[in-house]
Amino acid sequence: MGMTAIEKILAKNSGQAIVKPGDLVVVQVGTAVLYDNNFAPSIWRDILKVQNPESVVVVFDHRVPAKDIISATAQKIGREFVKKFNIERFHDVGPSQGISHVLVAEHGYALPGTVLVCGDSHTCSAGVFNCAARGTGAPDMFYAVTKGETWFRVGETIRYDLTGKLTAPVSMKDVFLHIADTYGSHANLNVEFGGPALANLSMNARRTMTTMCAELSAEFATFEPDPLLLDYIRERNPEPFEEQYPDEDANYLDRRTIDLDKMEPLVALPDTVLNNSQKVGDVVGTKIDQAFIGSCANGTLDDFAAAAAVLKGNKVSSEVRLIITPGTQNIYLDALRQGYVETLIEAGAVVTSATCGACGGAHLGILSAGESCITASTRNFKGRMGDPDSKVFMGSPATVAASAIKGSIADPREIVG
């Protein structure tokens, strides 16, 4: 019996010919990404030895620029660590600032066929690069940085074959909500994507999907390699790599086909995305106080383009705060050069600097009790974006932009498309 893509990556990096579901494997870590929360005084333990400084990336993203004394202290500790071990791949406040998972993509840090760990749950984002990328805890990161290895339990794999083509304003966020609504939790399972639709899907769109797989509780999410993926990495990183294709006789727990032609805008109701979405038409008119587009899942240039297409020539309702946060400062600059930022600000949006920001309720757009928000970000848990008595709906950037105009949840196809 053959192996799935993720099983092959884990086999290769654990020095074994075969791994199978149920195995516990120890793998070499190719890339270890530390971020600002790891350096918080209540978490940080002074690292005395780094196995391989060249494998380490340090990013400040959750609370940048520092929003309070405690985050400023964490960042100061982080800068001292970077200096002590001469970490070259360091993303401080400034021109290379951004959200870790988006920076990993932008700089091609996640090489196909390798292992990447980071102490943030949305690390599965880098699975889009045919990389075994997983969110871990802070102690895992101390272990990976000092010893250069980590462990994984090998789970079964679900294969999704994507067919057809998306028609704007329907986006990968809607495809994700469809999968989460239809199939629910993928806890302790891996997810592998492939199929003919890949030819028409940008790396940004694919990465929205792998990032959101954290919300399925998936172990690893990965895409089958194709020329677009391989060229994307080669343009950004000169290091050699060996991408891993699934075997033809790979053993999948289930194989499911998703026809992108049939997708339509969906909205997840508050508290979870699992088995909890409705067609946008069924929730149209639900009043909102805030609308947010951003995060590691939806802070890309594609997302700025989608929001600008809806907002061009329109005005954000005076009853709604529309906050848009780019994934990196480079994306901000690109969006500025493309004219998207001007369109968004003219429409009444607030465009912030790159950070995780409102997505995790850290800063730049926290909800009060009783308020409702529709978000194109990662997570809609109770209290996620502020007070436990606030509500978070989730939709695509186009659906969020349309809702910001109407002052209540709206169908983007009524504005564009």
């Binding site: 929360n37 918080a40 209540s42 690292i47 101390f142 789970g155 939790s185 848990f381 109770k382």
Partner: protein, 166 residues
Amino acid sequence: MEFTGKTWKFGDNINTDLILPGRAQLFTEEEQLRCVFEANRPGWIDEVAKGDILIGGFNFGMGSSRPAARSLRNTGLTCMIAESINGLFYRNCVNWGFLALECEGISTAIEEGDEVQVSFEDFKVKNNRTGKTLQARAIPDVLLNTMKAGGVLPLLESEGLIAAPV
């Protein structure tokens, strides 16, 4: 290693934002402890006692990588038993040294307040009220030893790789 304790029961898909809210992420351990389950079960933190045992449903601990397992350990709970534990949360249980078992049928076999007896030798869980015994999923030795030793930080400290806590 065996424990007997009073149970507190929680449902399916209990997420890390409930265990440790985002606003508390950078707080001290003591401050974080005060926020555990504040949104879904306010006041619980004052009721839970040292030696108690938490019972969870499916996919316990879904969500973020934050040190939520450490906060549960700090409540004085000796361990937790759930139908299934989220993969990332399970890692954090191992690495922060919080004993955690996956046991099919646990959420229907236990009513809140029941006294249970848990063995981390043969992974059997007994409800002392009903007398019913369930077999939990075995924990691989290497992970169990790390859990019992208080997680990976003491190990890294003993190997001179990280400094002692300040």
